[in-house]
């Protein structure tokens, strides 16, 4: 288990206040507010057009909000408004303290560069200058995400979809981020591959004490990975609570519809 400062845990890691995004008269998101604490996994569930992807973009500082703000507690303990960060700071944050797992791993990887270099890039970006150590670290991360270490010199172009996704995860976790954003991390993968990936993610989140925000339309992913759940519809959060609360005791009509729509296997 990764040790984190105990005082950390009582302070929120990320907060959203009155967050919203509009494009002219079209409102993609409105009135989003929540606090995420260290080690918590929050799933944002909703169907296409619910605004969940827009929300994720705002939370990860890739899209400026039209209203409200997102604040993040930096490693030095200070709560900072993401909109007030300089570009250099934001990019640094994105590469060290945060991870971002794309639905399409090709967006989160350098496809033409070897797996080892993909995992090692963040290390080199923060000044690691010893080839042997970079390679050893990359090797141990490949083991951790269950990629055969013999493939360390192969480019992800030669990998299967599931392997690429696991490589993307390794690439993101190598700098020991405290917060990982995931956008439909299992979308587009075969069911058995999804299952393996979810198990891996669940274990890593636990071992590394990661906080995560996972956007998904798949309730099973939410149930498996997250502690808390927010249901979005029409740009708003219509229900929120503990994952098991929302899924076992849904209150809102839309949530009841979602839960009842899962086909039993």
């Amino acid at each position: 288990m990764v040790e984190r400062e105990s005082e950390d845990r009582d302070q929120p890691l990320l907060t959203a206040e009155g967050l919203g995004k509009s494009y002219g008269r079209l409102t993609a998101c409105r009135d989003i507010a929540f606090a995420l604490y260290p080690g918590e996994v929050l799933a944002i569930v909703g169907e296409s057009g619910s605004g969940k992807s827009t929300l994720l973009q705002m939370l990860s500082a890739q899209l400026a909000p039209s209203a409200g703000r997102v604040s993040y507690r930096m490693r030095d303990g200070v709560m900072r408004d993401l909109a007030a960060l300089g570009e250099a700071e934001r990019r640094f944050l994105f590469r060290t303290d945060w991870g971002y797992v794309h639905q399409d791993p090709a967006l989160g990887l350098r496809m033409a560069v070897s797996a080892g270099a993909n995992v090692g890039e963040r290390l080199m970006a923060v000044g690691w200058n010893h080839y042997g150590r970079i390679r050893d670290t990359a090797t141990s991360w490949l083991e951790r995400v269950e990629i055969d270490t013999d493939r360390i010199d192969d480019a992800p172009r030669t990998y299967s979809g599931g392997m690429r996704q696991r490589l993307q995860i390794a690439r993101n976790l190598v700098t020991q981020p405290r917060l990982v954003f995931m956008d439909e991390p299992t979308g587009g993968l075969d069911v058995s591959v999804q299952a393996r990936l979810l198990d891996l993610m669940r274990n890593l989140v636990g071992e590394l004490d990661l906080a995560a925000i996972v956007v998904t339309h798949d309730l099973a992913v939410a149930r498996l990975l997250s502690h808390r759940l927010m249901v979005m519809k029409g740009g708003r959060v219509i229900e929120a609570g503990l994952t098991d609360q929302v899924l076992d005791d849904p209150r809102e009509p839309y949530t009841q519809l979602l839960v009842s729509s899962i086909l039993p296997v």
Partner: protein
């Protein structure tokens, strides 16, 4: 000394929006107390709301009104109004829940399913697995099954894994939903023993048991939930 659990006037109604908004009242006016070392059994016919009450006490079902008082880390808190974070904290260090059916993450080995609550509370993996192993042994689950996911087990075996998981950590409150259903006589006895041990250790327990004999053996008090049944 204040009670470990103090439920007062808890009420729950399901609103089925998909069925035209029909309201299904579950329970109303639920009130009872449980002290440390006590085992209170909820009794009543099927459908009376016993499981629902248990779930409300675990924070799995939300309360429409009323109070679920829990003594958490020395302080009385109202679970019905607690922040999600707090409920997570309560589940981690105060209340354990043994559900009626095992609901485990697929593909995880039985021994890891049982060890997980200990690991989550900070115990080292090897030691947690050792303890899990000895509990499973107590419950007559053969060692050759430990590395297998419990989804392949029989109903009785799954239930015993469930119990092991619920009993493994030192939580001061345990909620048990039919812990001995689908168990044979020998294993029923084992579970009754385990409940006794927990009682002696000062754990407050609330259980649902249909079997009169078991109820006799474990209950310090029986609470009849028919008095809490909400009007149809």
């Amino acid at each position: 000394m204040s009670a470990m659990i103090e439920v007062s006037n808890a009420e729950k109604t399901f609103t089925m929006h998909l069925q035209g908004g029909v309201q299904l009242p579950v329970v109303r006016g639920v009130s009872f107390k449980v002290d440390a070392g006590e085992c209170v059994v909820l009794a009543g016919p099927s459908g009376a709301g016993k499981s629902s009450i248990l779930k409300m006490m675990f924070g799995n079902y939300r309360c429409d009104s009323g109070r679920i008082g829990i003594r958490h880390q020395g302080v009385q808190i109202d679970l019905a109004k607690a922040e999600p974070r707090q409920i997570l904290s309560v589940r981690r260090s105060t209340i354990g829940y043994v559900s009626q059916f095992l609901r485990a993450v697929p593909r995880v080995a039985a021994i890891d399913v049982v060890a997980e609550p200990l690991i989550a509370s900070g115990v080292a993996r090897t030691r947690a697995r050792e303890q899990a192993g000895s509990l499973l042994r107590c419950l007559n689950i053969p060692e050759r099954l430990w590395a297998l996911p419990p989804s392949t087990f029989s109903g009785g075996e799954q239930q015993r894994v469930n119990i092991a998981r619920g009993f493994i950590s030192d939580l001061p409150i345990l909620l048990l939903d039919e812990p001995t259903a689908s168990l044979d006589a020998a294993n029923r006895a084992v579970v009754v023993n385990m409940i006794d041990e927990k009682k002696r250790a000062g754990v407050a327990m609330v259980a649902i048991v249909h079997d009169d004999e078991i109820r006799h053996l474990i209950a310090d008090r029986v609470v009849d939930v028919t008095s809490f049944a909400a009007a149809a």
